[in-house]
């Protein structure tokens, strides 16, 4: 008899049942942790801002955008000059180099020719500039090549070196912090070697770079020609936006795709700097212009404030804590900006946020310290697929949660993470209609200060050298790097010299992640200290609105050398802001002395103004006149030199 073999086929229902259970388990698991599709972000390229025709200072810009830079040496930094003038003067004119003509130069005090414009300047342009200088104008030429020698009186061989540091400032005849710190300004880019020159006033050399002439000045007729033999605009741009180490990327070749903004700094020294090196370099040159004739400008803060103080709280999850800080700020007579993750704001919290008066910005969630912001896809409760929200979607979600048609125009990236390239993140932010980013600043507790050379906002420029429709407002203290001592030092320095926006970022979870007494002590004292040091306590949004109004203002001047009279025509615009309800109006600043002689009289719209009503800037270089919004004519009279007075 054949014995039947046992068959596992008899267990097929059992195996099937187990298989079903396993499938169900896997299904439930996938529902609990759905697969996340990464977001695809839109970007937008930079574009040329509209030209302004009015202003004492004219910036010539390239006729066409440059090709996309594949390394930093190829970058067109003309808009580095734009940023500098925007920050320092507020009112200035721009024109394409092809528009250069005697008419456009008429009435200007200073004309700036950036390196890329100098490269392509036709001979007729050079002639026009020469005539302008001879008539008493001042011309600044960056990296002049062939053909410029007649105007600059500087011969270059065509070879280039690397500019990394300033080796002497003897020729600048500067004192105090400028003299002390100018030599520490890190430079980036090329240096055109030339023959050795004596330092000013014996010779024409103002700045020595790498022991070669870096900035020289020659008289040209009744005017002056300043020649920059190093990449001034690119040095400023590298300090502002970061200095790539290779092919427009940062760090080592194996650096991750997202890095912190602090990893972009141009020089290690800037990780712990109480000195805004970029602004120091800007002012070193710009203050020279007033030696030939007083050059007025619109003060970068409302009325006669010495600076501004901005406090922000970023939080990927702890909205309640951020609101707590905002409320604490309100109780101290201050105000905060809170950067909230779009999916962490309830309606109640939105109401509380409004009650605190805080400005709201978006914390762009990147999935670094928390899970990504997602939307799930599926049918009904069955949603096995999740999609990461794009920046625009996150912005929309936050605005929806805020209700009342609230428009959010500020952002900060989670953990200050940034694409490891030149401008992708900026371009993504600009594409999402973010107008102010606040992600650049120190990350580690031991880092603080002006990591990006300035506390003032600036326009990032893309790979083609064009500015993006976005402002980057760097912060100087972050989390555990906040101490009352540091804050006080920065405010004192700002009041007495640097005149800065001091932005502090106190993450809402700082006391959980890296608790330190200085965080709370610094925050507690920040607003009182700011007020004590004549700083405007404001928000990022208000500050930028003020600067926009300032940029829309017009300021031109004429100098009458025989009468030693500076006549300023200004149409000053103000901005009515939550942090300055009476209106934030820039003051008019002009040099305190000319040719060593003090101001003896100031007439505003035909009426004498007592000199005691003028406020000195911290370094005592300028006087600030407080004006109401509208058109004004200001006449500033400087004393005659003693010898001339005797002759009379």
């Amino acid at each position: 008899m054949r014995r039947e073999q046992p068959s596992l086929g008899g267990l097929k229902w059992d195996v099937g049942l187990v298989g079903l259970v396993i499938l169900a388990t896997v299904g439930v698991a996938s529902l609990r942790e759905p697969r996340v599709q990464p977001a695809v972000e839109a970007t937008i390229a930079g574009s040329r801002p509209p030209d302004r025709a009015e202003g004492d200072v004219l910036l010539l810009l390239p006729n066409t955008p440059a090709a996309e830079a594949t390394n930093f040496a190829e970058l067109d930094c003309s808009y580095g000059w734009f940023n500098s003038l925007w920050q320092e003067y507020g009112s200035f004119a721009t024109a394409l180099s092809r528009q250069l003509s005697p008419e456009i130069l008429a009435g200007r005090s200073v004309v700036i020719v950036p390196a890329r414009v100098a490269e392509t300047m036709p001979e007729s342009g050079m002639r026009a500039l020469s005539s302008f200088a001879k008539a008493g104008g001042q011309v600044v030429i960056e990296m002049p090549g062939e053909g410029w020698q007649g105007l600059t009186q500087v011969a270059t061989s065509g070879k280039t070196l690397h500019a990394t540091r300033i080796t002497s400032v003897e020729g600048m005849s500067v004192h105090g912090p400028m003299r002390e710190h100018l030599v520490d300004v890190p430079l980036t880019g090329r240096l055109l070697p030339t023959a050795r020159l004596d330092a000013y006033p014996v010779g024409p050399m103002l700045l020595e770079v790498e022991e070669q002439p870096g900035l020289v000045v020659h008289p040209h007729g009744r005017g002056f020609v300043y020649t920059l033999l190093f990449d001034y605009g690119c040095s400023l741009t590298a300090m502002h936006q970061g200095k790539p180490t290779r092919e427009m990327a940062f760090g080592l070749p194996d650096a991750p795709d997202l890095i912190t903004t602090a990893e972009r700094v141009a020089h290690e020294r800037m990780l712990t700097s109480h000195v805004p090196y970029a602004d120091l370099l800007k002012r070193a040159l710009f203050q020279r212009f007033s030696l030939a004739r007083p050059v007025p400008r619109l003060w970068p803060f409302p009325t006669t404030h010495a600076g501004a103080m901005i406090v922000g709280h970023a939080t990927p999850e702890m909205t309640r804590a951020a609101l707590g800080y905002a409320d604490w700020a309100r109780k101290q007579g201050g105000i905060s900006t809170i950067f909230i993750a779009p999916d962490r704001l309830t309606l109640t919290e939105a109401t509380v946020a409004r009650q605190t008066g805080a400005e709201i910005g978006l914390l762009w969630v990147r999935g670094a310290e928390r899970e990504q912001a997602i939307e799930t896809i599926g049918i009904g409760a069955l949603r096995p697929v999740a999609r990461e929200l794009t920046l625009s979607q996150q912005l929309g979600q936050l605005q929806g949660n805020l209700g009342h048609g609230h428009t959010v125009r500020l952002a900060r990236t989670e953990e200050s993470l940034w694409h490891n390239d030149w401008a992708t993140t900026f371009k993504q932010l600009a594409a999402a209609s973010i107008r102010i980013d606040h992600s650049f600043g120190p990350k580690k507790p031991e880092h603080f200060g002006y990591l990006f050379g300035t506390g003032m906002p600036y326009y990032p420029i893309d790979e083609r050298g064009l500015p993006l429709a976005l402002l980057e407002l760097p912060y100087v203290l972050n989390g555990a790097s906040i101490t009352p001592q540091r804050l006080k030092r920065m405010l004192v320095n700002s009041e007495s010299n640097f005149h800065q926006a001091i932005a502090i970022n106190l993450p809402a979870d700082a006391m959980r992640r890296e608790p330190a007494p200085g965080i709370l002590l610094g925050f507690r004292d920040a607003f009182a200290m700011a007020k004590a040091h004549n700083h405007w306590v404001t928000t990022a949004g208000d500050f930028v609105d003020f600067l926009s109004a300032r940029r829309q203002s017009v300021l031109t001047s004429q100098w009458s050398a025989p009468e030693r009279r500076l006549t300023i025509s200004a149409n000053v615009m103000g901005a009515r802001l939550p942090t300055m309800e009476d209106g934030a109006v820039p003051g008019i600043a002009f040099p305190r002395t000319f040719d060593g002689e003090d101001i003896i009289r100031v007439v505003v719209d035909g009426k004498d103004v007592a000199l005691r009503h003028l406020v000195s800037t911290g370094s005592n270089v300028e006087r600030i006149l407080k004006v109401a919004p509208g058109r004004h004519t200001v006449q500033v009279f400087y004393a005659q030199p003693a010898a001339e007075a005797l002759n009379r």
Binding site: G10, D14, V15, A321, G324, A516
Partner: protein
């Protein structure tokens, strides 16, 4: 037609059973891996210590540990004689301990005060009794605690009315108000011995329910003081808390857990939010109002640098790890240090611990007590299969913490969230077995005040009445206090006479999730308040070290009557003889920041001058005037004198 199918099913059945058994096994393994079976811990515990002290001291305490161990089984019948060690060490400093066997003529002659505790109440033999009597006749002070037999016959009232439970202290001689009124409000857990007649010529010093509970009788030039109530039970019940009769702790009904907490140990509801440290008030009355009344003694001041009190700063952290030490950074700017009590899983690293150590801070253990909601378990098994989990015991937690510390010891603990065991002394026994010296688990979660009658560290006892090597320092101001006296009020009370150690707990994670501005301002204001109240701010370890120095030091004194007064102390008031009484003191200070105190007055005689010097020639001190300052403890007036580190010789002149 079903036959083949049935056969087939029968054939498949064993495979089916095997298949499902395998599935069940796999499912069980997976389940156990995710949810291991919990085991109970096996805590180490320590037997009580037979503390011996051979210090050079004025006070001799006679104890019999065998009698203590053999005493009654319940809390109220247990012999708590060893509290005398704590009383004298806390209030005076050094103490000598003797047993009935080691008590000799020599040890008697070296002491000015001898305390015969209840444990030796009926053990004084016939030979020793006359010796004691003679020693008293010579002008010394004998204290007999609930004497029995021959001892009672010789020195105390008859005690024939028997033992009664006390309700209220009704009288305390010469204790000024408000302290007198406060003592009368003290909740009692004690019995007193009633007598049918008071002892002849006895002076009642303390009365309970109207009956003399402490009284003194003069014998020759000396005095015998009888403590006729169960002082030990009263102090232990107040300080260490009162368990059930069988030493269990009954948990109050709480929504979160049925585990007892130290809150359940509070003797009486009236103690919650108490602004009076009743246990210390009683101890100080006994030392300064009773002992020093008849035997003026010098004592080491209880706080470093002559401060009026101390604020012990502790921070409990189970979340921030290295960040838990952030408060220390600010505290050091005020010259203060603190103790960070951290759980082993909080995330403290070696770098973080080194930073705290460098700043002078102490790291202690925030103990995740087994069988409490705070316990942590470790999986146990073979390889990666760990089906059971057992609680991580104290020894393991300490080992893990030590591994991160730059020092090889952990001296301080606190149980996380104040959880306790059902065993009254169990956690203390475990701490003692693991070398812990100071614990701060006692305290109420949301109420400040002296819930345990003291802010000073007290000796913990096991349920047999034996002292353990651990001192408990209750938290007086908890991190989340919403009721009870404010710190400012407690500081004022301390500065005005109760002189306390106020352990203040501040949670470093308090601001982690919300910036509580009000609480932060309060914390900042605390430093000024503490300085204004002349209190020192220190860590548990440093305060314990100071107390150890006090205990390890030595003080010997003797009283010389009709001694010539120094030239600069003579006046018309001291004429014609210019003689007075001198309290001659030899003290060894183990640290630089120590002070002694002496009574301001000896009966009718007032303090005149203190002289401090290096050597004595023919009985006269070659000395300079010592700077003294007035001080007081619970209304008893004292003079405080700074000591130099090492040996000090001081003469205190009274007239």
């Amino acid at each position: 037609m079903f036959a083949p199918s049935r056969r087939k099913q029968r054939r498949v059945l064993p495979y089916r059973v095997a298949f499902w058994l395998t599935m069940a096994l796999i499912a069980t393994v997976m389940y156990l891996q995710r949810s291991p079976i919990g085991l109970d811990g096996d805590p180490q515990s320590s037997e009580g210590l037979e503390i011996t002290r051979e210090a050079s001291a004025d006070v001799l305490v006679v104890l019999d540990y065998k009698a203590i161990r053999a005493s009654g089984e319940s809390f109220e019948t247990r012999d708590w004689s060893a509290v005398w060690i704590n009383i004298i060490e806390q209030e005076v400093g050094p103490v000598t301990i003797a047993t009935p066997q080691s008590l000799s003529q020599q040890s008697l002659s070296a002491a000015r005060v001898v305390i015969l505790t209840a444990s030796v109440a009926n053990q004084i033999n016939d030979a020793l009794l006359p010796t004691l009597r003679q020693w008293v006749l010579d002008g010394n002070l004998l204290v007999v605690d609930q004497p029995e037999g021959r001892l009672r016959e010789a020195f105390s009232a008859n005690g024939r009315a028997g033992s009664r439970r006390g309700q209220q202290i009704t009288f305390a001689r010469d204790l000024p108000n408000p302290f007198h009124a406060q003592l009368q409000e003290m909740p009692l857990s004690t019995s007193y011995v009633g007598s049918t007649a008071a002892r002849n010529d006895a002076t009642t010093l303390l009365a309970i329910d109207g009956a003399p509970a402490i009284y003194a009788a003069t014998i020759g030039t000396g005095t015998v003081v009888t403590i006729d109530f169960n002082l030990g039970e009263q102090l232990v019940a107040l300080q260490q808390g009162k368990p059930t009769a069988r030493f269990a702790v009954k948990a109050a009904a709480r929504p979160e857990s049925s585990t007892p907490s130290t809150e359940d140990l509070v003797l009486d509801e009236r103690l919650r939010g108490a602004s009076v440290p009743y246990a210390d008030l009683l101890e100080r009355f006994i030392v300064y109002g009773v002992l020093m009344r008849y035997a003026p003694l010098p004592a080491f001041w209880q706080f470093p640098n002559g401060a009026k009190g101390a604020v012990i700063l502790v921070h409990e952290d189970s979340q921030l790890g290295d960040g838990g030490g952030w408060m220390l950074e600010h505290e050091t700017t005020f010259g203060a240090v603190s103790t960070l009590l951290t759980t082993v899983d909080a995330g403290l690293t070696s770098e973080g611990a080194a930073q705290i150590n460098k700043r002078g801070g102490e790291v202690g253990l925030l103990w995740r007590l087994a069988s409490s909601p705070a316990e942590v378990r470790e999986p146990v098994g073979m390889g990666r299969f760990k089906p059971v989990a057992r609680p991580i015991d104290l020894a393991t937690q300490l080992k893990a913490l030590k591994a991160t510390l730059p020092v090889d010891f952990v001296r301080s603990t606190r149980t996380l969230d104040g959880w306790w065991s059902e065993s009254w002394s169990g956690p203390f026994e475990t701490m003692a077995a693991n070398g812990i010296r100071i614990d701060t688990s006692y305290g109420l979660r949301s109420t400040s005040g002296f819930a345990f009658g003291t802010g000073l560290p007290f000796l913990a006892f096991d349920s047999r009445g034996m002292p353990l090597g651990v001192r408990e320092m209750p938290v007086i101001v908890p991190a989340q206090a919403i009721a009870g006296p404010s710190l400012e009020e407690l500081l004022r009370i301390s500065a005005e006479g109760h002189h306390q150690a106020l352990t203040v707990s501040m949670d470093p994670a308090l601001f982690a999730d919300f910036p509580d501005a009000e609480r932060f301002e309060k914390w900042l204001a605390m430093f000024q308040s503490v300085q204004d109240a002349e209190h020192v701010m220190t860590s548990a370890l440093r305060f314990d070290t100071y107390q150890r120095n006090r205990r390890a030091g030595s003080i010997r004194s003797r009283l010389v009557e009709r001694a010539p007064l120094p030239e600069n102390a003579r006046s018309s008031a001291t004429a014609p003889n210019h003689q007075g009484t001198v309290l001659r003191i030899s003290a060894e200070a183990k640290a630089r920041n120590m002070f002694i105190v002496v009574p301001q007055n000896l009966g009718e005689r007032r303090f005149l001058i203190a002289r401090q010097g290096a050597k004595r020639v023919q009985g006269e001190l070659l000395s300079t005037a010592a700077v003294t300052e007035p001080a007081s403890i619970v209304g008893f007036e004292l003079r405080r004198i700074a000591l130099e580190q090492g040996f000090n010789t001081i003469d205190i002149y009274y007239h």
